[in-house]
């Protein structure tokens, strides 16, 4: 019997080694795997490469992971925010590497990793400093930049419901990077507030098929609207 349900946050994160590349889902609070990130912080790892849309906010979650010195490199589209002081300090101290990627190229590079695409030509970023040193190509009257997949060892994501095969549904804009990261990582770890019986999810509504999911842990939601 396939059963990807696991008992605790600490258990699902136990094998992540120093130096791992980890995709972390979420766009703002929506889809942010808060408890998995907190668990990652408890692991006290070093040399991590983190892929997220941002580089941490305030003094919690990813920002604390950055502050702790666990993170060697951040790949993201928008590190600078009013409350990104932890990243800012590490960056200005030269203690963290930043790979800045236009948001759509970030999404497409993650998709490429999951989809077995070796590289793709994107118009986004052409002629900008973010394409410096990258191959370009003129195709059918338009200019493109060659971008490569972002592969990763682990993905930590949040979904709304999961069954024991790892089939996932998301809720509203919390879908964002989840399905892409699940497919791009070697090992995908998911937190959900609701575990459901196999067959309970509408097969037309499943967004991430279980094939992309390795471990699922139940964590209560702090969003009152999610209790429905």
């Amino acid at each position: 019997m396939i059963n990807k349900f696991r008992d605790s946050v600490d258990e699902v994160l136990a094998d992540i080694p120093d130096g791992a590349t980890i995709l972390i889902g979420g766009f703002g609070l929506a889809g942010q795997p808060v408890e998995l990130i907190d668990g990652l912080l408890r692991r006290k790892l070093t040399g991590l490469t983190i892929v997220n849309n941002n580089a941490g906010n305030g003094d919690e979650g990813l920002a604390l992971l950055v502050k702790s010195g666990a993170v060697r490199k951040v790949i993201c589209s928008f590190p600078r925010q009013v409350d990104s002081w932890n990243f800012d300090a590490k960056y200005h101290a030269g203690e963290i590497e930043l790979e800045l990627v236009p948001q759509g190229n970030l999404a497409e590079r993650l998709r490429a990793a999951g989809a077995g695409i070796g590289g793709f030509y994107t118009p986004s970023g052409f002629g900008t400093t973010l394409a410096e040193g990258k191959e370009t190509r003129h195709i059918d009257g338009r200019d493109y930049v060659l971008e490569f997949p972002i592969t990763a060892d682990y993905a930590l994501i949040k979904a709304h419901k999961a069954d024991r095969w790892g089939n996932l549904v998301y809720r509203k804009t919390s879908r964002n990077f989840g399905p892409l990261m699940a497919a791009a990582a070697t090992t995908t770890i998911v937190q959900v507030p609701y575990l459901v019986e196999l067959g309970e999810l509408d097969p037309e509504r499943v967004v991430t098929p279980g094939i992309y999911v390795d471990r699922v842990v139940q964590v209560d939601s702090t969003n009152p609207k999610e209790h429905s």
């Binding site: 766009f27 703002g28 609070l29 929506a30 889809g31 589209s77 928008f78 590190p79 600078r80 925010q81 990104s84 990243f87 800012d88 960056y91 200005h92 930043l98 800045l100 990627v101 236009p102 948001q103 759509g104 190229n105 970030l106 999404a107 497409e108 993650l110 998709r111 994107t122 118009p123 986004s124 970023g125 052409f126 002629g127 900008t128 400093t129 973010l130 200019d143 709304h160 998301y170 809720r171 509203k172 804009t173 919390s174 879908r175 964002n176 990077f177 989840g178 399905p179 892409l180 967004v207 969003n223 609207k225 999610e226």
Partner: protein, 222 residues
């Protein structure tokens, strides 16, 4: 249209947003950037059914959410809680940016540092040494939308024009801006660098604008 062709005062930020709203065709799919562009939604005619896109993964975004309506799973690109309009749909980031990059959005409305006469846009990075760069979806919107409308003050506080011959700031996208809405005038751009002034405000003449911008502007106000 509530703002006349030659409004006697220069436009406020809200009036600039309203002026953009008046140019959005009924049924258009529009992405509104953070800042003044977001204000455009306040002036859209509900009967026109403008479909708002937010790049984090939604078409048919409704107004900002308040009080009990706030749902932290339903955010816009500025990470503010919003609501659903009937007919909305959700999708993941790759699908959302495929929609943008693939040329399916009718209009993106964005702010800018400067814009060049041939439509090059700079709005993601001041270029100051030591500044932490952040880009988000700006480059994807710049290359993807059928029309890129910019809302910006024409003149900086130092009295320099932000509509320029060529960019000195880091580029967001080349030749992408099709129209610039400012407090003093509307400028239609093309990739060849011909700039047409279609409306002026605040008793500003096209001759005044030529002096201010040092650009060879075409008078298309009549």
């Amino acid at each position: 249209m509530s703002i006349g062709h030659r409004h006697p005062e220069k436009l406020t930020r809200d009036q600039m947003a309203e002026r953009v709203a008046n140019d959005v065709p009924a049924g258009a799919v529009v992405n509104l950037g953070i800042g003044i562009p977001t204000k455009v939604s306040n002036y859209l005619n509900p009967e026109h059914e403008i479909v708002l896109h937010t790049e984090n993964g939604m078409l048919g975004m409704g107004p900002e959410a308040h009080g009990d309506d706030i749902d932290t799973d339903l955010l816009n690109a500025g990470k503010l809680p919003v609501t659903e309009a009937p007919g909305c749909s959700y999708f993941h980031h790759a699908d959302s940016f495929a929609m943008m990059r693939g040329g399916h959005l009718d209009i993106a409305v964005m702010g800018a540092f400067p814009v060049s006469k041939n439509g090059d846009l700079a709005n993601w990075h001041t270029g100051e040494p030591g500044a932490i760069p952040a880009v988000g979806g700006a480059m994807d919107l710049a290359v993807g939308a059928k029309d890129v409308f910019v809302i910006m003050e024409l003149m900086t506080k130092k009295g320099e024009s932000k509509l320029v011959e060529s960019l000195t700031y880091p580029v967001t996208g080349l030749g992408c801006v099709t129209r610039v809405y400012t407090e003093l005038a509307i400028f239609d751009l093309d990739r060849a660098g011909s700039v047409r002034v279609t409306e002026t405000y605040g008793n500003t003449s096209v001759a005044d604008l030529r002096t201010m911008t040092t650009l060879d502007l075409i008078d298309a106000t009549e």
